[in-house]
């Protein structure tokens, strides 16, 4: 008999989301922020994959994996835009620390 703990997976994805949010709230380096966002995004993707694996009989389940494929592509695209913004900012200014974004009032 093979099987996996259902609730355990949700604890994992909840923990990953919490780690990601924590990083977003505390880190100030843009690259670290990107990584934190990716960790949170991966929590959502993981959810889709295992809800597909655990889907009960009437629901098709397969869409979960299809959505995961799409989201993996989407998350990679998002990183590319973030890096482009960083590079543009880096050219104008020497630093990419969000805390030094002093011209805007927080």
């Amino acid at each position: 008999m093979s099987g996996l703990p259902f609730a355990g997976f949700l604890v994992l994805s909840g923990a990953l989301l919490a780690v990601g949010l924590f990083g977003v709230l505390t880190r100030r380096n843009f690259i670290l922020l990107l990584i934190a966002i990716e960790i949170a995004m991966n929590a959502a993707i993981l959810n889709f994959v295992y809800f597909a694996a655990f889907a009960r009989a009437p629901s098709p389940g397969l869409p979960g994996q299809a959505i995961a494929v799409v989201l993996i592509g989407f998350a990679a695209t998002e990183v590319a835009v973030g890096l482009a913004i960083v590079l543009a900012l880096n050219r104008v200014k020497g630093s990419i620390n969000v805390a030094e974004a002093s011209e805007l009032k927080l």
Partner: protein, 531 residues
């Protein structure tokens, strides 16, 4: 083959925008980068798409809807396919409003001051952002909806920083990107929990399944995450802080598009996702989600959204009172307006949704116009502070009258569109009885509060003397006259866009019926559809 043509016919407005965007990129590659040329492509595409949407709507909301489902596109899939998109007349009304915002911004951007940098690719990204917004308005699937929101978001991240030179716009773009990416991660997490609870991400199918299994705890959590993700996009209050910095840091034309256009995407998404659960009257299950059994989300959602709405308008208005810079003042007032729109969504009756929709239309015109005036005034060499606008009334009478009318409409003075939308909205709230009457009272008090800061701006413009000229070394010629304004800085395009917005604000304020009627019909159709 015919199904392909059917598809092209069904998505004509969207395809027009895509073609326009690709044409802009092509012109860019061919180094045909004259602003007027590229801008007119954008104006043409958005005008054509608007005409197609209005023709679809036919001003008779049930007559000629685009009704093609995924099953019709490929009949062999019909067993699997619950359509990812559904054309509702209210969705088409929102499409029209989004296109109106794009049209205003495109026309205004046709003529820019020579000091402003940034390539014509601006228009391509504008069209792609609009394409995403149009797709939001027709989606009936969570993933389709969220991806469409991301399409418009990613385009706007770049738009905010598109000048590439200044530090401020790029920093605003960076903040906007971080907040947007976090909110999308939250939304997708919420969608994944809903998928786990109901086995589908299709909103129509979710409604079906919820009829039998109620609202399990996973779904409750999913809705909570989804709401917090969408609240970022709609600038609702605990999640509003980014909006002021971004509107302030972005070029004013882009601010007009953000406040007038993309923010409403969030409002419509909240409406689309939460109207079903609000209206859903389950089999009278327990009101406690932790006791098991069928559970209806409606009352909890209404209290949550209602509280959010009141907090949003109050915080927005109070903070607007404290602002010294014009763009930040307008940004906070924009946040408070989001509260009014959310009020209509909360109530969930047809008149209330009509009121919210009309409020969205009013806001597109008022706030879009106001930010365009700010853009124009900056081109005249006037500073960012409210006090820098002293005496504008005597120096630029026409522009000042337009701005005054837009502000009066924002304050909700009769004979402007702002009054009509608030009247429709608050009377719907009073009709809905109970808890909602208090929401209407809160809204009325807030409107009264907002009059103070609009009146302050009007006083500065009309009743204070223009700033004295800076002593420039030698003798000041002509005594102590006001410092001359830079001539011809406004530009024809901006003047036309501001004029059209102001004219519509007044015209629809005097006689709202030509648009209010169809919107009411569309809203009642929408409520009927989602019940």
């Amino acid at each position: 083959m015919s199904s392909l043509f059917d598809l092209a016919g069904t998505f004509a407005p969207e395809l027009v925008l895509l073609a326009g965007a690709l044409l802009v990129f092509l012109l860019d590659v061919l180094k045909l980068r004259r602003l007027e040329l590229v801008g007119s492509v954008s104006v043409g595409a958005s005008l054509l798409a608007l005409a197609l949407v209005v023709a679809d709507l036919g001003f008779a909301p049930f007559a000629s809807l685009r009704t093609l489902s995924a099953a019709q596109v490929n009949p062999s899939l019909s067993a699997l396919a619950t359509p990812l998109w559904t054309f509702t007349s209210l969705g088409l009304v929102f499409q029209g409003m989004f296109l109106l915002a794009t049209l205003l911004v495109s026309v205004a951007s046709l003529s820019r001051g020579s000091k402003e940098t940034g390539g014509p690719i601006f228009f391509g990204l504008l069209l792609l952002a609009t394409l995403g917004m149009l797709l939001v308005a027709i989606s009936s699937d969570l993933i389709f909806l969220l991806l469409a929101i991301e399409l418009s978001s990613i385009a706007t991240y770049v738009l905010v920083g598109y000048t590439r030179r200044g530090l401020r716009p790029l920093e605003a773009a960076m903040k906007f990107y971080i907040i947007g990416a976090v909110s999308s991660a939250l939304s997708f997490f919420g969608a994944s929990l809903l998928f786990g609870a109901y086995g589908t991400t299709n909103l129509l199918a979710i409604r079906e399944v919820a009829g039998t299994v109620g609202t399990p705890i996973l779904a409750l959590l999913g809705y909570a995450f989804l709401l917090s993700g969408l609240a970022f996009k709609a600038t609702l209050v605990p999640f509003h802080a980014w909006a002021v910095d971004v509107y302030d840091g972005a070029p004013s034309d882009v601010s007009a598009f953000l406040a007038g256009g993309t923010k409403k995407v969030g409002i419509f998404a909240v409406l689309l996702v939460f109207l079903g659960p609000i209206l859903f009257a389950g089999a009278g299950g327990s009101s406690n989600p932790f006791q098991g059994g069928p559970f209806t989300l409606g009352p909890i959602l209404q209290v949550t959204l209602g509280t959010l709405a009141v907090v949003t308008m109050t915080v927005g208005n109070v903070l607007a009172l404290l602002q010294k810079e014009m763009k930040r003042l307008l940004a906070y007032s924009s946040i408070s307006q989001a509260g009014y729109m959310l009020l209509g969504v909360t109530i969930g009756t047809a008149p209330a949704i009509a009121g919210a929709t009309f409020q969205v239309l009013a806001h597109v015109l008022m706030k879009g116009g106001a930010f365009l005036v700010v853009a124009g005034v900056a081109g005249l060499g006037i500073g960012p502070l409210v006090d820098d606008w002293r005496g504008l009334g005597s120096r630029r009478p026409l522009l000042s009258v337009a701005f005054a009318l837009l502000l009066l409409s924002l304050a909700g003075v009769p004979l402007t569109i702002g009054f009509v939308s608030k009247f429709v909205l608050f009377s719907a709230a009073v009709q809905a009885q109970g808890f909602f009457v208090w929401l209407a009272v809160a809204g009325l008090l807030n409107s009264a509060l907002s009059v103070f800061y609009y009146a302050r701006v009007l006083k500065v413009i009309y009743f204070e003397a223009p700033p004295a000229p800076l002593p420039t070394g030698g003798a000041v010629v002509g005594g102590a006259g006001p410092e001359p304004l830079r001539a011809g800085g406004l530009g024809i395009g901006r003047a036309v866009a501001i004029g059209v917005a102001t004219a519509l604000v007044v015209a629809l304020g005097v006689d709202p019926q030509p648009l209010l009627g169809p919107i009411q019909a569309a809203a009642s159709h929408f409520v009927f559809f989602w019940r």
